[in-house]
Amino acid sequence: MNKLGLRLWVPLLLLSTMGFGQDKSMRNTVGTRLTATSEKIVLDWDPKHPWSADIARGANLMAEYDTRSQGIVLQSLAQGKAPGGSATSMQFVLPETLTASPVGPVCLFVRLSNNKVLPVRKADQGHSDTSRFRDLSWEVVAASHTGLAEHKRFLSELQAAADNADRLLELKRKSLDKIGWSQGGGCKNIVAPSFASETKPDDVLPLEQQPSAARRACITRVLGAQLEMQKRIQRADDDHKADIFLTDMTTAVMPPDLSNYLLDVLTRSKLDLSTRRLQLAEFQKDWDTYSKNPEDREHPILGNVRDEISLQAITSAIGRDKEMIPIWLAFLTHKPASSLTEKIDPEKIAGFAGGELEAYSRCVVDSQKQLRSKLDQWEINLADAPRLKEMARQELIASCEKESASLARLVAAQTAAHDRLSQAQQTQPSNATETTLQASGKNLNAFACSVQR
């Protein structure tokens, strides 16, 4: 015999041998009486019951039953407590529903606060279980109510699922409407965006126009530097005019008459200026051709109106050397180059003039490269545009088809959810009957119960 068996049998033996003198009606029910009323079970016990004090401290009315979804369930239905003093009676208020719909009998038993299970009958040949009992009237009603509640919950869940399916479908339809993919015509009719620039930019020129455009751009910068210097000199007071002239003239390329003047000064030297003379001739020709076009000033083909052709740092520094001042003065005052008597290092003059002319030539070469680059990019854009458009179209079609499939799945899911809800609404739970407990006053001790495991 295991320990549990001992815990039950020993007190039973004691109880049966001690007897209960005062209430003979409880003799066969080991000093207890369980009475069912409409909503309660009343437990009375013999004051001489050996567990009387334990019972008086309080007890739980427990239910044990099998269910479809949760297996065998143990549920506390109600708590009971004696009112105190020498009371030997307590009540358990029965709940309207169980945790889940029972499959089979709902067995009740009383568990004391010290976890002992209260025997309510003597063991006999028919039943070895002495503690479990059944209140059939309540059980039928509770099972019915439980079934109804479960069904209601189930319907509520199905409704929520159907609502969710509606919402998801609505959202999907709205997002497809926004893109314009749900307006009929199918995915194959999708129009992809164009990758080609709609208008040809002004700085994209055919190859044959680029050399002259480059020269025009560079002359515009030289003219701009000159005009800017003149404006600054005009605005300045007399004390600062010379400084502005010296700074601006030695920072950016100035019109060719300056380089021409410097080369004229160098005529006295023995330096070979042939290359520079050729460069100057090109510069002069460009200046004569393009410096009179005001439109270029307002809308330069490259860069903006504030651009200049900057001189290299060392060229600028040479230009600002004190030794060069007589040349600048002579140039400003339009004295012939040949009239200069000061001894100025020809290397400096040649260095500055060379720096100017190289800067201008470099501007022309670089500007042509820039224009060529812009033309190349334009042609690449045009060449790539149809291919990119088709790639984009294929991507969009694939995306559209994916979205259409997703939409179809959502429509199917919505239909299924509503079908399930509709079917459930038309069915009733098998044990669902609107019943109410009848008052009984029945003694329950004799109604043994067991749950099949």
Binding site: P193, I314, G351, D366, K369, S373
Partner: protein, 389 residues
């Protein structure tokens, strides 16, 4: 003889005066919140191109700029810094909650002297927030800093913008390419040009060399430049290859400067600073690259002979001009060589080379305006496609 001595002295004086890159102001880092609630980190020049924007020019009038090469920390003068990219990295880490009060204090001590950046650090400590975008406003500066900046931006996956009224020029355009997503407003300015080691002048040693034997000097410098430009081409090409792709879709190619230097024909070294940081550089002095062939260094090259004649005629003004032209010619040679093997260089090598050519077809003394068409077709910006309504 006296004239010759005076010329040498003058030349040296000129070159001494311009022997370093002119002191650049270090960038300022400020935070902004847009009307739509986006948190922006603005990386901008101090003065320079920031002067076009009133709120910045007003601020810069009241708060002095930091010397870009030497920094005044709270603990005293600091050595040549590693670059603005270190500050950017720190601020982005702090905004991503990868920093704390202690590291912030250490950073303030290190970067101290720039009120705007210190204010940004303090603000991030008070209320940490993740930056949604980085805005750029700069006339450029150091190429290495630009590359470092780009790599930092890419590592943090930042969106980068040049908004309306801002300008991004020169090295800024390299930094810009680091953005994982990149936008340039139609009313912003974006201009590219070559890089050059000689924009500010040349060293006294080089000037003396040119004075004494221009032919030998040109040959030596050209050989060195051939490797320098090849190194720069490899670095920039790989950077552009990596940044032309959306970061989600491709595995980046390794950007190992030591490897690039080796491939270019140089020898990679590191300079260490007293504060524990270091910077790498590719030493090309005295080295010769056999392939591709550098015709300019041939014994009787006509172009070099003409340059020598020019130097003898025009003196120091000619050195700088010629060197800057040889630099670009060497870059062109490097790009032509890389173009030959473009098929083996991996995805996006061709568009990366196209971007490099666009940069180097314009001298550093000029700039090339990039139109919207060029910016989109070359891949500078990551424009979105509007679906048809």
């Amino acid at each position: 003889m006296r004239i010759l001595i005076r010329r040498i002295a003058f030349a040296i004086t000129l070159c001494l005066a311009f022997g370093r890159v002119p002191n650049l102001y270090a960038l300022r880092f400020e935070e902004k919140t847009t009307a739509k609630g986006s948190h922006i980190l603005v990386a901008r020049d101090c003065k320079n191109f920031s002067s076009d924007i009133k709120e910045f020019s007003d601020y810069d009038e009241r708060h002095s700029c930091r010397d870009g090469k030497k920094r005044e920390g709270f603990l005293g003068p600091m050595e040549d810094y590693v670059g603005d990219e270190a500050e950017l990295d720190f601020l982005l880490n702090l905004s991503e909650h990868r920093g704390n009060l202690f590291s912030a204090l250490a950073a303030i001590a290190r970067y101290g002297g720039d009120s705007a950046t210190v204010e940004t650090i303090q603000s991030l400590l008070r209320s940490p927030k993740r930056f949604d975008e980085v805005w750029l406003l700069s006339g450029g500066g150091d190429v290495d800093a630009g590359v470092g900046f780009a790599r930092t931006l890419r590592r943090h996956g930042m969106m980068v913008e040049v908004p309306a009224g801002y300008q991004c020029i020169s090295a800024c355009t390299i930094a810009f390419m680091g953005g994982a997503l990149r936008y340039i407003d139609g009313r912003a300015t974006f201009r590219v040009h070559s890089a050059s080691m000689y924009e500010g002048g040349l060293s006294k040693e080089t000037a003396q060399e040119f004075q004494q034997d221009p032919d030998a000097a040109l040959t030596r410098v050209a050989r060195s430049l051939q490797i320098d430009e090849r190194y720069l081409a490899l670095r920039l090409m790989t950077l552009f290859q990596n940044t032309l792709a959306l970061p989600l879709r491709s595995v980046p190619r390794p950007e190992n400067d030591a490897d690039f230097c080796g491939l270019a024909g140089g020898s990679y070294s590191t300079i260490s600073f007293s504060d524990g940081r270091s910077r790498g550089y590719c030493d090309t002095e005295g080295r010769t690259l056999v392939s591709p062939h550098l015709a300019y260094a041939d014994s009787r090259n006509a172009e070099r002979a003409a340059d020598v004649a020019r130097i003898r005629r025009e003196g120091p003004a000619a050195y700088q001009d010629i060197l800057m032209r040889v630099e670009r010619d060497c870059m062109s040679l490097a790009l032509d060589d890389l173009e030959l093997g473009v098929a083996e260089r991996g995805a996006r090598a061709k568009p990366a080379l196209r971007m490099l050519r666009a940069m180097f077809m314009t001298s550093i003394t000029d700039t090339s305006y990039m139109t919207h068409l060029q910016l989109v077709t070359m891949g500078y910006v990551t424009d979105s496609i509007e679906l048809p309504k």
